[in-house]
Amino acid sequence: LSRVSPFAVGQCGNQVGCRFWDLALREHAAVNKKGIYDEALSSFFRNVDTRSGDNGPDIYKGKICSLKARALLIDMEEGVVNEILQGPLRDVFDSKQLITDVSGSGNNWAVGHKIYGCQYRENIVEKLRKTAEHCDCLQCFFIIHSMGGGTGSGLGTFVLNLLEEEFPEVYRFVTSVYPSGEDDVITSPYNSVLAMKELNEHADCVLPIENESLFEIVNKIHQMINSGKLGSTVKQNSLVTSSAGSAKTLQEKPFDAMNNIVANLLLNLTSSARFEGSLNMDLNEISMNLVPFPRLHYLVSSLTPLYTLADVNVPSRRLDQMFSDAFSRDHQLIQADPKHSLYLACALLVRGNVQVSDLRRNIERLKPSLHFVSWNQEGWKTGLCSVPPVGHSHSLLALANNTCVKPTFIELKDRFMKLYKKKAHLHHYLQIDGMEQSCFSEAVSSLSDLIEEYNELDATKGGPRVDPSRLKIAV
């Protein structure tokens, strides 16, 4: 099975990453009853013989000895990573997978990208190569980071560049948390736009996430549970926001629930590559089907259902509701409404006891209310994975390449321009070696071009007015 190597960069990235590893372990534990190191586990974990210490050899078959995540954790402050290493996941990582510093990046993209990038380049490349060596087939890198800060944004996109240089054939998937309007980091627009240029040019696929959306979803779940409107009890560990197994409905840290959603997104994205099903969907297929033109690689995601009721028999009505919800505005992980914008492509990855007829019925049902680009009127990519997420009987991940990402980018550009016009805080960036005014103008130009491409598509609905005439054959 192909190996996936996630990189968590920065505070946000590492907090999400932590939830991801926790949920991944629980998911595999639920399926893997015999404790055998199997193909599914090997996609995210190595099996190390630690009897002779941490540097033991990898074991490729047989019983699980010690699972180590195929990951790199990078942060320029120690707090978050230290917490992970003191917590229940401490044995999943070894010191060779960590790159930390002490002073942080001061919420400055340039510090993360130029200073730390330069400083840690060798270190990162070396650890990258080591991780790759342990994979017999490296298919994909995942970067998890936020756009608004300094480390995740700056150093994270530096790592993205490095990955392209060192491993040009391995797919680069990036999960990026975009800042909201009320973000408490004043320079987050600068950091985000500078990072966007890197994503435009070096990522294969980007899954943008907005905290506002995660927050709204978390609230929605709390309301639903507390309102008592639900007929049956909600399966506690089925909440898309919960740490499976935990009985709490209110999390101690506000971000835990939100991070769980993103962690679940990543788990579901890779589920069909790890577990069997009647129609497998691998990561390279996602990139192939959802990216019709290289720069248009931003995918809006939604996860449903948010929870599963305790009923064992799921009537198809409820299954159908799951599909409907995937297209509704309030289930998207960014502030976007795909139903009222233009689809270039759409993917549905279903897990659990769902069959092809359920998929077909729902596609037929929902298609008329969706707008697809003229050259992809029936453009659906579908996958069926037999193994549901822990606590659920079924789930759906929808990925859309849709022009509804445009408002997010336009707002970002507006916030950037507000600061840039006044040259506010620019000196913090320009004083960094390697940073010039042109970095800013090029970055915003790149973003403008991207917005323009989406505008074009919206204006023309993506195609010529008339169907192109077919080749004529002399009879």
Binding site: E276, M288, W380, K381, P468, R470
Partner: protein, 450 residues
Amino acid sequence: MSIVTVQLGQCGNQIGHEVFSALCSDIRGTHGLCSKKENESYQDSCKERFFCEEESGVPVARAVLIDMEPKVISQTLSMAARSGHWKYNSHSHFCQKQGSGNNWANGYSVHGPRHKEAIMNLVQKEAEKCDRLGGFFTIMSMAGGTGSGLGAFVTQCLRDAFPTSFILNHVIWPYGTGEVIVQNYNSVLTLSHLYHSSDALLVHENDVIHKICAQLMNIKQISFRDVNQVIAHQLGSVFQPTHTAGGGSGYSRNPLGDLLEPLVPHPEFRMLGLRNIPQMPESSLAYSTFSWPGLIKHLRQILIANAHMEEGIDWQVRPPDPGSSIPSTNKPLHFNTSIANLVILRGKDVHSVDLGSFQDPSLYTSWLNPQDAFNAWKTPRAFNKYEKSAALVSNSQFLLKPLDSIVGKAWNMFASKAYLHQYTKFGIQEEDFLDCFTTLEQVISSYTNL
């Protein structure tokens, strides 16, 4: 004579497993409705064709399993072994780790050349186990990356390595509303390439089989397994042993040759459709009776009206008046013109069946004598618990509309240049696409002007 089956990609392997299961379960059944001697002859013939014997006594399928990711092959091998009644050879498979990414170019230009030697070695080994090699049967979908791209490459290799053997490609056409967004590109690339190396393409369309599952088999929540089992039943009804017309008293010893030679008289026309009647849930079989005249009447109308099953047939469609030479543009609308047809009858009283209606010259183009255009195989041995069953393999306009639709959608996408960068990075250029479109437009034109 033996047939070596090559299962390609997830679809090919999932269907292949159901086919061998169906064949095996049919020969083990006690519903043959014929003499013991006839039954034993049938069993022996099937075994020789599709299985080889091992010391353990468990029949081993004559198959090579190929996929670019390991999960499906692993499942397929273990499901077969668990059945206890047949299995695959534990060495006859080849897989990789990373898949083809639904990218035809990746399957054809990268995986193909890279793994050619290993794959052809496996095929050679299987071929050598056959006392007499009757040819190759490949199973693949044309929507994805492995079955389609690697499948096209392997077919070419088979043709090069076995220039005088028959090659029949069983190709699955995906649901029209999409399983894969680039499925129409992959389909155009596959079909045009297969046309150059294969003897014939035997097609099943997911949409059609899905309808059969819903309307005839009454399955509520249809899974791919259900679809695959219907397909396997239909294939079994063609490939299980029969007596061919001039075959004397024994079962046909050249199944692929006997199938392909009469059905593909002209290299421009290689698309074969398959119909089977009756089809119903197993639980209903005990309560149903059929008459041959009724079955034959329905099957003929299915052919003429291009229906997919015995429900919803348009009985208004009639062949053109005999005797008048009508240019194709004036033929009655919706009438399905045939080049050649094969009807296979299995079960009770087969020898009494009158198939004269299929020899009506108005069903066919004028190139062949109706006696040559139509063939019938019969066997008294019933198939898969159906007391009477009839299959139709047809080289006609069955697939014209679906083919035209796929090419149309692919062309529409091609004109906007969407997704082309995904193919060019693996070496398939725009000119290659254009060549493929040209090939298929030619095929469409040929079938339209029958």
